[in-house]
């Protein structure tokens, strides 16, 4: 049994007028203990929405309208809000996009870590919780005594480390990191990624890395889920995605990504723009921008096909050679 299995997850957003926009449809994937999954896509593709839906933290307009989220076989979507609260952070912790603002500016870093420990009943005393907070900070490379400082006294990279320390407080089984390095400099980005990789290895965490950066995924993830316009385009092992991609979107995205080891190679671009949620194409959501589209593509969305063991592609021409 997989640690986490998501089946056919669908999320709508309600507009002001109450009409639903299908932000995410039919997303399925699974995650084993100690493995890492990369969730890749451009802005607005629904990758963050999927993660928020897992923890049932969607914004007010969001509705989970279908699917199952099985954590150790238990469907999280059927839990009461109180039961769900015990899953959050204790079992599944999350590092949010823009960690700059994820910390309460008027409370010390330590108190925010201690809060998680005491709330979930994981510390015998406040003293013990403080001790543990110090250890966690040391674990992510922050001297324990700096826990008594406030977020504004930390640099951007340190805040991200502190958020990661906080996420590890309850020994979660799964850590979700949503764009953990966006807005950080390349060197700090490398530091944070190395930290996450090390923690994942040492603590046998299952890691979900949500990012728009294919390079990061290639370096740190075992499996990759490529999303486009709210649906899964391709889901396979990291090696298959980067070396034998089958979905036209994945192929083009890889060609658009500059490779520093081959400077001067031409960069491809994908004409057009990602679909807007209020004007989704009736067929394949990538069809209007696809260079290999057929007539059938505009008629109905393609089903996900498993073309090789664990390699899923949502494309009518998945099995045709590119």
């Amino acid at each position: 049994m997989a640690l986490l299995e998501v089946r056919d997850l669908a999320v709508d957003y309600l507009t002001d007028r109450g009409t639903p926009l299908h932000a995410v449809e039919g997303v399925s994937f699974h995650l084993e203990e100690g493995r890492s999954l990369g969730l890749v896509g451009e802005s607005g593709c629904g990758k963050t929405t999927v993660m928020m839906a897992l923890l049932r933290l969607l914004p007010q307009e969001g509705r989970i309208v279908g699917g199952q989220v099985l954590f150790e076989g238990r469907d999280l979507l059927r839990l009461s809000e109180a039961e769900m609260r015990r899953v959050r952070w204790h079992q599944i912790a999350m590092v949010f996009q823009g960690a700059m603002n994820a910390l309460n500016p008027v409370r010390t870093i330590e108190s925010q870590i201690v809060e998680a420990l005491t709330w979930h009943g994981l510390a015998r005393s406040v003293q013990a919780a403080r001790q543990r907070a110090g250890e966690l900070l040391e674990l992510v490379g922050i001297p324990a005594h700096r826990g008594r400082q406030y977020p504004h006294q930390y640099s951007g990279g340190m805040r991200q480390r502190a958020v990661i320390a906080m996420a590890l407080a309850c020994n979660p089984r799964i850590l979700i990191a949503d764009e953990p390095t966006t807005a950080l400099d390349v060197m700090i980005q490398a530091q944070i990624l190395e930290l996450l990789e090390g923690l994942q290895r040492d603590l046998r965490l299952a890691l979900v890395l949500v990012t728009h950066d294919l390079g990061i995924v290639a370096e740190s993830c075992d499996e990759v889920l490529v999303m486009y316009g709210g649906v899964v385009a391709e889901y396979a092992s990291s090696d298959a995605i980067f070396n034998t991609p089958r979905h036209p979107y994945t192929q083009r995205l890889l060609q658009a990504f500059p490779d520093v080891e081959e400077p001067g190679t031409a960069l491809a671009s994908i004409p057009g723009n990602p679909p807007r949620l209020d004007a989704l194409p009736p067929g394949c959501r990538f069809e209007p921008r696809c260079h290999r589209r057929l007539q059938v593509c505009a008629a109905a969305p393609p089903p996900a096909i498993e073309i090789a063991s664990g390699h899923w592609v949502s494309c009518y021409q998945a099995e045709a050679e590119p």
Binding site: L57, E61, G62, V65, G66, G67
Partner: protein, 295 residues
């Protein structure tokens, strides 16, 4: 255009506008609507003094036997004139100070903001009382005092908005294409500030009206004019013990009516031009999962 349609769809804004239009019409048409000359010296018998409402005098008579309804209708004029002119003055001064202090900053800007801080700390009403008591109780003085003391909040608002707009890249772009300061202020800064200023100015009208009525109630209204505040001053001094509610309540509710209308409009405008984040993170999360039970 989008702002107008948003305003029209907001019941608070529409009701407020309707209420304000009523007052404006009353003020304009006061001579036609008023059954009596409110200032006229009347031949009164003792029975006329504080006479309760009857068919001739729908809101009764005051302590000098004059018609309360007619005074009420004329009173709208003073409130609106004071409100609109004082708020207009505040708007002009506040916007100019805010723009200069925010855009140019530096020593001049700092000095201006110290003046603003100073004026904000001085208690308004006592200051007005003192100035009017010394300068005299004319309508012009009242307008000047309210207008010249009421611009500080607008100046702060404009300045803080200018400070953020000034850092936007399109202002840098305007500099890069060679635009002058006047061009940048007029084309790139002012349009972003104006909606906020207008929303604030509407709220300022109601503040000015409330301040005028307070001054008048405390005996510092223009003695040659009838305003709602003056009426309440007379009523409170002379009629409260006589329980003459018809003299006491109408001017009070008139003030509430007009200031409420302006507050409703201003609040709606503020909601439209000042869109704070649409949703927040604490809501009833039980509604989020919306799956039909399917076993």
């Amino acid at each position: 255009m989008a702002a107008i349609s948003k305003f029209v769809r907001n019941p608070m804004g529409v009701i407020g506008t309707g209420m304000l239009l009523v007052v404006v019409c009353v003020a304009l048409l006061a001579p036609e609507l008023a059954p009596y000359d409110p200032q006229a010296r009347l031949q009164v018998t003792p029975a006329d003094i504080l006479a309760p409402p009857d068919a001739q005098h729908l809101l009764g008579r005051d302590d000098a036997g004059r018609d309360v309804l007619s005074q009420l209708l004329y009173g709208a004029r003073v409130s609106l004139i004071v409100g609109f002119t004082a708020s207009f003055m505040s708007m002009i001064i506040g916007t100019t100070v805010g723009l200069v202090a925010g855009y140019f900053g530096g020593r001049v800007g700092n000095a201006l903001m110290r003046v603003v801080d100073f004026l904000m700390v001085i208690p308004d009403l006592p200051l007005m009382l003192v100035i009017i008591a010394v300068m005299g109780r004319g309508l012009l003085n009242i307008i000047l005092v309210i207008g010249l003391l009421g611009w500080t909040y607008t100046a702060r608002l404009v300045r803080s908005q200018v400070l953020t707009v000034r850092e936007r890249q399109y202002v840098l772009r305007a500099r890069a294409i060679g635009a002058s300061h006047m061009h940048i202020i007029w084309h790139h800064i002012f349009p972003q500030v104006l909606p906020l200023v207008i929303a604030q100015a509407v709220l300022d009208i109601s503040v000015a009206i409330l301040e005028e009525s307070s001054l008048a109630f405390l005996g510092l209204g223009d003695p040659t004019l009838i305003s709602w505040g003056t009426m309440l001053n007379f009523a409170f001094e002379r009629a409260i013990s006589a329980q003459a509610w018809w003299f006491l309540l109408p001017p009070g509710f008139a003030i509430v009516w007009v200031s409420l209308s302006l507050i409703l409009i201003g609040n709606t405008l503020d909601q439209i031009v000042n869109p704070r984040l649409r949703s927040h993170h604490l809501f009833d999360a039980r509604r989020m999962v919306n799956i039909q039970n399917s076993g």
